[in-house]
């Protein structure tokens, strides 16, 4: 099936697929993904992730699975590696926020196909995060960005939204058993509430079972340390890097 046929099939007539202006300026030769070798296809998927082409990523993911690739191999070699390139160029100022979100969206579409298969095959998890803006604070642009970037990196993200009291975090921890708790605040008046959440976790004796990441414009490294978080993340890209680092350590601990 050609790319164009695919688009016609999957996209409702009244909405064109999301596409960045730069990507759509490029030569748009039709490529038949199923005719590519494994190696070519994976490279093409890296490019398609970079360009945020959601349908192409879904198709590529399915083709690799049909060819007998293990879901975990599809995840790591095609998707996570592709998003690593995206993350690098975001850091270096070549890609911009809206484009990275588009890439993350394409990644998410691939993840949607892979997730049940990963669970079924008992593949190592990328990680799960519960994220929310703390009590008293209704600002969520930064938190949303972090959530989307984390999903783009293959994490499962449970977004609690805004204005979360400590009970909300505790309920979510119990229900979802995440690896990471993320807390966000924009106001100097609400940021101290992060300590309330962490102190409560300590009281319950569960603090050390989770990685706690905090972020928001008025925070800094010292504040993160003072409230007892594992790390302060200055922006969404750093949050993803930090989360990946902690997951790696966690896996290493398990292995050793």
């Amino acid at each position: 099936m050609t790319r164009r046929h695919l688009l016609q099939k999957q996209v409702p007539a009244d909405r064109k697929p999301l596409k960045s202006a730069s990507a759509s300026n490029m030569a748009d030769d039709e490529i038949i993904l199923s005719e590519l070798s494994d190696e070519e296809l994976v490279q093409q998927m890296h490019d398609d992730l970079y360009d945020g082409l959601k349908e192409e990523i879904e198709e590529g993911t399915n083709i690799l699975l049909e060819r007998g690739w293990a879901p975990y191999k599809v995840l790591t070699e095609a998707l996570v590696e592709g998003m690593r390139i995206v993350g690098e160029d975001f850091r270096d100022g070549i890609l911009f926020v809206p484009e990275v979100l588009l890439s993350a969206n394409a990644m998410k579409a691939g993840m949607f196909i892979l997730r049940p298969l990963l669970v079924a095959t008992g593949a190592p998890k990328q990680g799960k995060m519960v994220i929310g803006t703390v009590k008293g604070d209704i600002h969520d642009i930064g938190k949303n960005l972090v959530g989307m970037m984390m999903e783009g990196a293959g994490f499962d993200v449970i977004d609690l939204g805004i204005n979360n009291a400590v009970e909300k975090y505790l309920d979510a921890i119990e229900q979802h058993q995440p690896d990471i708790i993320g807390m966000s605040a924009l106001l100097t008046t609400t940021m101290p509430y992060m300590k309330v959440v962490i102190d409560t976790m300590k009281e319950k004796g569960i603090r050390d079972d989770y990685v706690v990441l905090v972020g928001g414009a008025p925070l800094n490294q010292e504040f993160g340390k003072a409230v007892g978080a594992d790390a302060y993340c200055r922006d969404a890209a750093v949050a993803v890097e930090t989360a990946k680092d902690f997951m790696k350590r966690k896996h290493n601990v398990r292995v050793s």
Binding site: Q43, D47, Y50, G93, Q221, R234
Partner: protein, 516 residues
């Protein structure tokens, strides 16, 4: 404004996208904005009656006091035209003056050696031109020293690469190591070789003006430069009320080739004018109009640029100042007068007094450029590099000015409504809560919707610190250094390049090694 993506030979060429495709697209080093067409109204700071009052006073000055024209041929031309002449003093009747001024076309095309970089000057059309005349540079290591030919070449390269600069100027800094009688040849050669944008002529003597025209003739064709503007030359009136022989000589060469002159008094207000902003404007207007009128005796209908360089003097020292409120106010008056006369007009944009590319420079530059833009100036000069009242051209200042010009270009271009409907649709798409970063409208427009500077830093404190906690001046120097590393010389026909070299060799044989 993107150049075509470079050919990508690796796997990514399949869809032309991916990392390599994007890098090629984003990394395009050369872009050039067309003429700025101002799409915002000009701001008039005083009522029409005040403009008329200044106009009438200027005409009375030229009728009653008159203006010096210190050159025999000029005097003869004025006599023949019917002016009241006694020795070198010329008193010009208002009817004669305004008849001559009315011959100047309101707009003209300024041709570049690359036709894509040709620009229009006058009416709603404006251009940004880098500075002129600095003996010193503040270099890439932040050292202040005399300028060299290598510095001048660097500034021509930067001018070529800066998208919002429409000209390479000429003497951005003085190549001080070259003997004065031969210097002009190397200045013009560098401007023509390292950039394909319009440039500026030499005015310090008749011979040098003729050499400039000869070099322009090699590049554009001798016939072409007899009638078509390819350069702009600056002639200053020595305020108060003197047009001297050197300037008149240069005017004769250029006007007779139909090359536009800037008729701009260099006024240190309070010293070479009365200590009054409106008084200074009335005088400078008289001086500029006298100069414009004279060009029409040389060649009726030749394109000219009316203008001014007016800064106030610091009464503590007598030194010229830069971005002061009065300098800005005087621009608005000159702009209103220029529109009354239907003349293209020149002012300056970033001509600050500060020694460094620092907060003072930023405040001054903003005061001046905002006025230049709102006053509707057409030839916005000294728009890159200028420090220390023009004594120094700074690499950092040059780079940061060029970045700001991209912002001003956008500001003056007005507010586009072409995607308004889509923007409204995006509101309906997102609704309350959520965000707009992922909408189709954002994806299509984010790159052009808002100014995206690279030297100005809007990162988080931590990110800025991680990158070395560099100040604006340091980042400007780095940008200049990186731009120079990426520079690629524009194509110049081999025959033309050889022709220029031959002419320079020929002239250098004849010209002395020192001023007599």
């Amino acid at each position: 404004m993107n150049a075509p993506a470079a050919e990508v030979t690796e796997h990514a060429s399949r869809r032309g996208g991916g990392r390599l495709g994007r890098k090629a697209l984003r990394g395009t080093p050369m872009a050039s904005f067309p003429t700025l067409v101002r799409n915002i109204p000009a701001y008039q700071m005083v009522p029409d009656e005040a403009v008329e009052l200044i106009h009438q006073e200027s005409l009375s000055i030229l009728e009653e006091v008159g203006c010096e024209f210190r050159d025999d041929e000029a005097i003869a031309l004025w006599k023949a035209a019917g002016a009241d002449v006694s020795e070198t003093r010329v008193r010009i009747d208002r009817a004669l003056l305004m008849e001559l001024v009315s011959k100047v076309p309101p707009e003209f095309m300024l041709n570049a050696r690359n036709p894509e970089r040709s620009v229009r000057v006058g009416g709603k059309n404006s251009i940004f031109v880098p500075m002129y005349g600095a003996p010193y540079v503040r270099d890439l290591d932040n050292v202040r020293r005399y300028g060299t030919l290598a510095d001048l070449q660097n500034f021509h390269k930067l001018a070529y690469m800066a998208p919002a600069l429409h000209s390479s100027s000429s003497i951005i800094c003085e190549p001080m190591e070259i003997a004065v009688p031969k210097r002009h040849l190397h200045i013009i050669h560098s401007a023509l070789k390292h950039s394909d944008k319009p440039f500026m002529g030499i005015v310090t003597s008749k011979d040098r003006a003729e050499d400039t025209m000869a070099m322009a003739g090699i590049v554009f064709g001798e016939d072409f430069v007899r009638d078509n503007p390819v350069l702009v030359a600056i002639t200053n009136c020595n305020s108060p009320l003197v047009w001297d022989a050197t300037m008149l000589d240069a005017m004769k060469v250029y006007a007779r080739h139909n090359q536009p002159l800037i008729l701009a008094p260099f006024a240190l207000c309070g010293a070479s004018t009365s200590a009054s902003a409106v008084g200074a404007v009335a005088q400078v207007n008289a001086e500029a109009l006298a100069g414009v009128a004279f060009t029409q005796l040389l060649r009726p209908g030749s394109p000219q640029i009316y203008g001014q360089f007016m800064v106030t003097v610091d009464m503590k020292t007598g030194a010229p100042m830069g971005g002061t409120p009065e300098a800005a106010q005087m621009m608005y008056l000159m702009g209103a007068l220029a529109r009354k006369y239907r003349l293209p007009w020149r002012t300056s944009g970033f001509h600050v007094g500060s020694k460094l590319n620092d907060a003072q420079a930023g405040y001054e530059a903003n005061m001046l450029m905002h006025a230049a833009i709102l006053a509707g100036a057409n030839y916005i000069w000294h728009s890159a590099g200028w420090l220390e009242a023009g004594l120094t051209c700074g690499y950092s200042k040059f780079a940061t000015d060029c970045e700001q010009l991209v912002g001003w270009y956008k500001y003056a271009g007005g507010l586009p409504f072409d995607d308004f409907k889509e923007a409204m649709a995006a509101i309906r798409e997102v609704g309350p809560q959520g965000h707009f970063l992922g909408t189709q409208h954002t994806l299509e427009h984010f790159q052009s919707a808002f100014f995206m500077p690279s030297i100005m830093d809007f990162n988080s404190y931590e990110q800025w610190k991680a990158e070395g906690a560099k100040d604006h001046d340091t980042r400007g120097r780095e940008k200049a250094r990186n731009m120079l590393a990426d520079y690629e010389e524009p194509k110049l026909d081999e025959g033309i390049a050889d022709g220029l070299k031959d002419l320079i060799a020929l002239r250098e044989e004849k010209l002395p090694d020192s001023v007599s």
